[in-house]
């Protein structure tokens, strides 16, 4: 795997010579394990930012403890000179701050990997010859450096200094990033951070570990890249899409989107309402939409369920609305801080009645930004609710990507153009375009938007004929939308043995698995569905060129042996060669799990 340094680069205990050796590497996975989520996040975030600025690719992965404050937490950073698609199956370096960090994570270190531990707290099993152990008195050295007690934060910055030296990272750039990060804090905070950082940077590993690393120059552009997490990217995508109004209720991992919107929207002249519950939130968002704005609401699994009745209303009344769902492990409170893709069916079908629902999903952090813009386009053009299915992994992981071009960002305008006597909100021959309140109706007939079945003018009716015709109309508009969608790109050859199909955050692992499998001679390709419902036409044409199709998703195989997207694809194409690879352990797919799935699918 590309994360594994080649044989001659492998540090091994036997060649710990006295002369310092620098190894060129193109890829490193560093796992930080400790008890302070905040502290670990700080150094992980700083490292990611540095990589983003240094033409390296970067991806992070973080677990959030389910306890309220603190608790065991990890932050994994993968930095690479080439394409980085996953946070890495195994770590090359483990930084263990406490005994339990060491015990819980040592088996995630690859053989030959380096365990850097705080020997003030950790007593590793030094007879374990699989790994190289490097003990550093992190706690006491930090206390020495900044005086007083070494809180977790200080130790983390100390380790950051250590890592900076070990990997020959660009110290000046990093110091600048730290300074910016602590800009608004009390000056003593920055001073202590720098003392800890310098102590770590100057710490001589010499006697115990005579080795340092240097990354090969990165291939990514170093200028104009931004480094951020998925929820933040999505937030700014919404703002770029022209969203100015929204409402929500807190729930992990959705909350950080609403928190950011609450402070950002007023700058744009907008409003975000923290509602009393999700039913109120979606209702307020529908109020915004009816008023003529592009509005959003959002939540995670259980909260999405609460919004369903009103989402059915938005489908029936044909109001534009963006609904964000940051998926987490379910059902019920489930695994609130773990990743899962089990809300697909809920997103598509989770309401009463026949309500065709648009569901789209971002593939990585960068795409969180663009998916919001796409959601806005569809909602406006087709006057319909659009669900964006992102997930816990994307919400918090950090990636670097080119700064989005904002020249195309349009400021939303309220359309209060007077409407004539012939105004029909639900015409059979055109898309719905409502007349928001404040619009003069020159024929003096004012429209009432309703959830009852209605005719073209919006008048309630229970005519069997009209219910059928209007049901057709709502369905057909989604088919028109589907027909306008681009076919997904094929990663790999256009024909071969096996086609992998994924959606959402499995994009990276699937792509990397394809690369690995192709290198070892398998004729594997992959497509990724960004528009899941409706899906673009013509996927059958792509599948035809492969002997087998394997749909990969993080949800359960269900009663009949197929994951949620696999079930949809089988329903649409009635093709028995569509198989399913699913898992439900709250963790991202590892490359080797996908490779194993490919190998097993042949029998």
């Amino acid at each position: 795997m590309s994360s594994t340094p080649t044989a001659e680069q492998k540090p091994s205990s036997s060649d710990q010579a006295t002369t310092e050796r620098t190894e060129d590497i193109n890829n490193a996975v560093i796992r930080l394990a400790g008890n302070s989520q905040k502290g670990i996040q700080t150094i992980g975030g700083l490292l990611a930012k540095l990589a983003g600025r240094s033409a390296q690719e970067v991806m992070t992965y973080m677990t959030i403890p389910s306890t309220i404050s603190g608790g065991a937490s990890i932050f994994q950073v993968r930095i690479g000179s080439g394409e980085v698609l996953t946070p890495g199956d195994e770590a090359d370096f483990l930084v263990a701050f406490y005994q339990d960090s060491y015990e819980n994570h040592i088996n995630n270190l690859r053989e030959g990997g380096v365990c850097l531990y705080d020997n003030d707290h950790v007593e590793p099993d030094l007879t374990d010859k699989r790994f190289i152990f490097v003990g550093v008195p992190m706690t006491s050295t930090t206390i020495e450096a900044i005086g007083g007690s070494a809180r977790d934060r200080g130790k983390n910055i100390f380790v950051l200094g250590l890592i900076t030296n070990l990997f020959d990272l660009q110290r000046d750039k990093l110091v600048h990033i730290i300074e910016t990060q602590f800009k608004n804090k009390h000056e003593s905070v920055l001073r202590n951070a720098m003392l800890a950082f310098d102590a770590g940077y100057a710490y001589q590993l010499g006697d115990i570990f005579n080795r340092s690393y240097e990354f090969e120059p990165g291939k990514a552009q170093s200028d104009g890249r931004i480094t951020t997490d998925g929820n933040t990217a999505l937030t700014y995508g919404l703002l770029a899409a022209g969203v100015r109004y929204g409402a929500g209720y807190p729930i992990t991992p959705w909350s950080s989107i609403m928190e950011q919107l609450r402070s950002e929207l007023p700058k744009y002249g907008g409003i975000f309402v923290q509602s009393e519950d999700e039913l109120a939130a979606v209702s307020t968002a529908i109020g915004f939409a009816y008023s003529g704005h592009l509005a959003i609401t959002g939540s995670s699994g259980p909260g999405l369920s609460l919004k369903m009745e009103a989402m059915g209303y938005a489908s029936m009344a044909e109001l534009p609305l963006i609904v964000i769902n940051v998926q987490r492990g379910g059902p019920s409170t489930g695994l609130p801080t773990s990743v899962e893709q089990s809300d697909l069916m809920q997103a598509i079908y989770g309401s009463h009645g026949d309500t065709p629902r648009v569901v789209i999903a971002p593939k990585d952090v960068e795409d969180c930004y663009y998916i919001a813009i796409e959601a806005g386009r569809i909602a406006r053009e087709f006057s319909t609710p659009v669900v964006v299915l992102t997930d816990q992994a994307l919400s918090s992981r950090i990636e670097a990507f080119p700064e989005p071009d904002v020249s195309g960002v349009i400021s939303p305008e309220l359309d209060l153009e007077p409407r004539g006597e012939d105004f029909k909100p639900y015409p059979f021959d055109a898309e719905t375009k409502h007349a928001p309140p404040g619009t003069r109706m020159t024929g003096n007939k004012y429209p009432v938007v309703t959830g009852l079945e209605h005719d073209e003018w919006g008048h309630p009716t229970s005519s069997p004929e009209i219910h059928q015709k209007m049901t057709d109309r709502r369905r057909e508009k989604h088919k028109r939308m589907a027909a306008s969608l681009p076919l997904p790109e094929i990663h790999g050859e256009k024909e071969g043995e096996i086609l992998l199909i994924g959606w959402g955050s499995t994009w990276g692992p699937i792509r990397e698995a394809v690369n690995v499998a192709r290198e070892s001679g398998h004729a594997v390709s992959a497509i990724h569905l960004r528009h899941i419902h409706p899906m673009p036409d013509g996927i059958d044409g792509i599948m035809d060129a492969f002997k087998r199709v394997l749909v990969i998703e993080m949800n359960d195989e269900g009663m009949y042996g197929y994951g949620q997207l696999a079930t949809l694809l089988r329903a649409r194409y009635a093709d028995d060669k569509i198989k399913s690879l699913t898992k439900c352990d709250g963790l991202n797919f590892q490359i080797r799990q996908i490779i194993a799935g490919i190998e097993n699918s042949s029998d």
Partner: protein
């Protein structure tokens, strides 16, 4: 925002406001509520296109279909959060929300609580008939103990909600109670509610002649009852004025609400405090002052710069 209006707006009349003929049962109390609403609008001459009537689900909630204005017939119990969205994002529009007792005090009870404390600028009229009308006679949250319904054939056993007490405790800034058979009083309450900046609520006892006939007779002089008004202070320093109700006094409002049924009618409470509309606008102004009025593109670019 708005484009050139084609012709001189017409004067607002009952005729121009009348939409389809209401489908309520003949003699339903809700007809009188509609008539009073038309008259007040006519008096206030609100620009026709700026009137917006919203409702949840129920007999009372069919209101928007019977008013020729911009309107939306929503889902059961959620009209207030919907109306908040309209009010906050469209300060140019006059927002009216209508509904029944089930819609407002039961399924929407929590929304009423929070809308009241948040105080958005809108008027909410609850047509309280002490029963579920549309679904044909189940116990409602205001049905008195002993009321025989399809869900309580032996008589209701659960203590009913006291709407005025609920509203006072949740912090609504204008709270009034009236009776559908008292058209003039109803109009006065509506007018004052509409003119109140912030969240104004009027509970109208509106008889369901099919499922709870005679429910409000004992507050109707024509049926031998007594329609007792709250006397408000006129602040004239007269000795009589001491006895009158100070509408800004929460504790007194609460005490009046405790008077045994049919109780009193009029304004229980009124106090001006900044509406949510005002507070949100202050937030916008303060934020935009800090960013020196930067437009969306600049704001995004500045933010991206911090992510580098």
């Amino acid at each position: 925002m708005s484009t050139a209006a084609p012709a001189e707006p017409e004067k607002l009349t009952k005729k121009s406001l009348l939409s389809d003929h209401p489908t309520w049962c003949p003699a339903c109390g809700d007809f009188a509520v509609l008539a009073a609403f038309f008259k007040v609008l006519e008096k206030l001459q609100i620009p026709h296109e700026k009137i917006c009537t919203l409702a949840g689900i129920g007999c009372a909630s069919r209101f928007p279909y019977f008013v020729n204005s911009h309107g939306l017939h929503f889902i059961h119990g959620r009209v207030l959060p919907l109306a908040m969205g309209v009010s906050l994002s469209r300060p140019d529009v006059h927002v009216f929300a209508f509904g029944g007792d089930g819609d407002g005090f039961s399924i929407g009870g929590n929304h009423l609580e929070h809308c009241a404390r948040k105080n958005p600028n809108l008027t909410y009229v609850i047509m309280d008939n002490f029963v579920y009308g549309l679904t044909k006679k189940q116990t409602s949250p205001t049905s008195p103990i002993g009321f025989q319904s399809k869900t309580d054939p032996g008589g209701a056993i659960d203590r009913p909600v006291n709407p005025m007490k609920k509203l006072v405790s949740s912090g609504a800034s204008f709270i009034a109670r009236t009776h559908a058979a008292q058209v003039k009083h109803m109009m006065e309450m509506f007018e004052r509610a509409i003119k109140h900046p912030g969240f104004s609520v009027v509970e109208v006892l509106s008889e369901c002649v099919i499922f709870y006939k005679g429910a409000f007779d004992n507050a109707n002089p024509r049926k031998g009852g007594e329609f007792e008004l709250i006397e408000e202070k006129s602040w004239d320093n007269s000795p009589e004025d001491d006895e009158r109700h100070d509408v800004t006094n929460e504790a007194d409002a609460y005490a009046i609400a405790d008077i045994q049924y049919p109780g009193k009618f009029g304004v229980f409470y009124q106090n001006e405090r900044p509406s949510k509309n005002t507070l949100e606008q202050q937030l916008i102004d303060a934020s935009q002052e800090k960013t020196a009025g930067a437009d969306a593109r600049e704001l995004l670019k500045n933010r991206f710069a911090l992510m580098k």
